[in-house]
Amino acid sequence: MTMASYDSQGLRKEPSKGVPNKSKRVKGRHLLHTIMLVVLVVLALGLPFYLLIITAGKNQAEALKLSLSLPTHWYLIDNFRTVITEGKMIPAFFGSILVTVPSVVLALIFGAMASWILARRTTKAMSIVYALCISGLILPPAVVSVMMLLKMMGLAGTAIGMICIYVGIYLSTVIFFVTGFIRTIPISLEESARLDGASPMRIFFTIVLPLLGPTLSAATILLILYIWNDVFYALFILSGKLDTLPLNLYNVASAGLHLNNWHLIFAYIILMSLPLLIIFAVAQKKIISGITGGAVK
């Protein structure tokens, strides 16, 4: 609390200079704001995350009560060990990496290449192609037919099949973000390179692509968020053949809820959320500015 009021004092110093009365009022308002903030965070975030952590630290009998009291003895590490070995988290983790990384990379490269053409060739026909390309932004994929088609191609239950589907689904997101961005880049850079005799391939990879940094990082974050956490498409396409973290959680929880293994489910959830939380903690500023830059142009 003292920390917070010190902050508000420091920040409010300038505008309230020479008006002591107002300064006091502003300081009071700031204190009130901080108190409300703490209450809000405790109620809206504290409760679920507190329950998540303490339950993951309990043994089965204690976790069953779902009570808010602290565990009498912490089993957090033991529970982590159990879900990693019995919940097969390590193969699931690599399964998640195996489908997420290629999907994101391919969607970004293919999407950026297509966006360049879609942004620069401003013909009627191209605007129709563009509309088709971004239709996936909103239209839901026909998930059962997807599964059947993959089966016919011999790709059902494989990482390659899953990657193809993710690329197909999320290309629209990339194209939507990147096309809008390229239109704001002046064409003169490309034209001067063209006069120097550079091929389209060269122009794209050496001039256009490096300029797409901010929008591509935003798209990367969104795609990782969607694909890493996806369970719906994975259920249809991978079920039983290849494990990913959310798919595995679904299986553990579907079996576990009957056995009431809340402590293991919650331990699994904590471990599974860590990779994205760590990425976010490291690149927090970039992520937030990237997403907002893409959404509100």
Binding site: R120, L139, P140, C164, N229, V296
Partner: protein
């Protein structure tokens, strides 16, 4: 080549100019750059969608050795047993409520955390954590909180002084609303940062002028900030509404469609019937979902594209 010719003749017809422009575009922006994305989209997105239009009119199932067309039988069956209208209603209620909660939570947070103070910055980061978590995981956590003997009832019991055992997830009317509120809670952080970015784009001089004119903070928000946030509202509302139509994870984790099927949105039906082996039923419902979203999307996309044109 073409370019040189026109230089020499000196006089240029308009059709020739257009022709030249197209040739140049073709040379400088070759279609082969479109090919990889185009092929992936065609084969793995558009083709399945078309196939779905066919499969919905067949009797495909795990019990039938062969597939044959059966006209509108699937639609008639889903209509007769009430599933179609029930799930349509549930999906729409879920999507509309979710869009409402996500935007109200997100906007309230953005306004509350607008100033760049240290404590606000920390809070913003904390509210982004649910966005990063798997929706399935979020669903399980809230299921535990909302159990009759769960954390929320224990908390309420401790405050009120007597035992409380409300079955939060047991109402055939209100559980769908509660589940959509949880989904709104999960995505509020994303809406928040988009609204925050919108608030940042507002010209401070406009706000200053309003202060000079004696506007209070209530007027300041509703008369100035909120109208200027229109683009952010459109983006957030449209993506939340149409995205929730395709929802699955949170509800699957929290209620599994229950109680009594009252929270079964389209995708839950698709997954359930797929598991039962009645593939034709799940493709039919999948097609209905597609059509409903398409009908809703047309006005939304037109609106978004208009906005885009206005900005560029």
């Amino acid at each position: 080549m073409q370019l040189h010719k026109t230089w020499h003749t000196g006089r240029i017809g308009t059709s020739q100019v257009r022709h030249n422009r197209l040739t140049l575009l073709r040379q400088n922006y070759p279609l082969r750059f479109l090919a990889p994305a185009g092929i992936m989209l065609l084969v793995f997105f558009l083709l399945p969608t078309l196939v779905n239009f066919v499969l919905a009119f067949t009797n495909w199932s795990s019990f039938n050795p062969s597939i044959s067309f059966n006209g509108f039988d699937n639609f008639a069956a889903l209509f007769k047993n009430g599933m179609l209208l029930r799930d349509l209603r549930t999906t729409l209620v879920f999507a509309i409520c979710e869009a409402f909660f996500q935007n109200v939570f997100g906007l309230a947070l953005a306004v509350f955390l607008e100033e760049d103070t240290v404590q606000n910055k920390i809070a913003r980061v904390l509210f982004f954590i649910p966005v990063l978590m798997s929706a399935l995981a979020v669903g399980y956590v809230w299921q535990a909180i909302l159990q009759p003997h769960g954390a929320l009832n224990q908390l309420l019991g401790a405050i009120s002084g007597h035992a409380i055992s409300i079955a939060w997830l047991g109402s055939t009317t209100w559980t769908i609303v509660l589940v959509s509120a949880i989904q709104g809670w999960k995505w509020a952080g994303l809406a928040m940062i988009i609204y925050l970015a919108g608030l940042k784009t507002i010209d401070p001089e406009v706000l200053e002028a309003a202060t000079v004119d004696g506007a209070n903070s209530f007027q300041m928000f509703w008369k100035i900030k909120f109208p200027l946030l229109a683009p952010a509202v459109t983006f957030n509302a449209a993506t939340a509404l149409l995205g929730s139509m395709n929802g699955f994870d949170t509800i699957q984790a929290m209620t599994d469609g229950g109680p009594g099927g009252s929270t079964e949105i389209f995708n839950l039906f698709v997954w359930r019937t797929f598991g039962q082996g009645t593939y034709a039923q799940s493709t039919t419902m999948s097609l209905i979902l597609f059509l409903v979203v398409m009908i809703m999307a047309v006005p939304v996309i037109t609106y978004l594209r208009k906005r885009e044109e206005k900005i560029l």
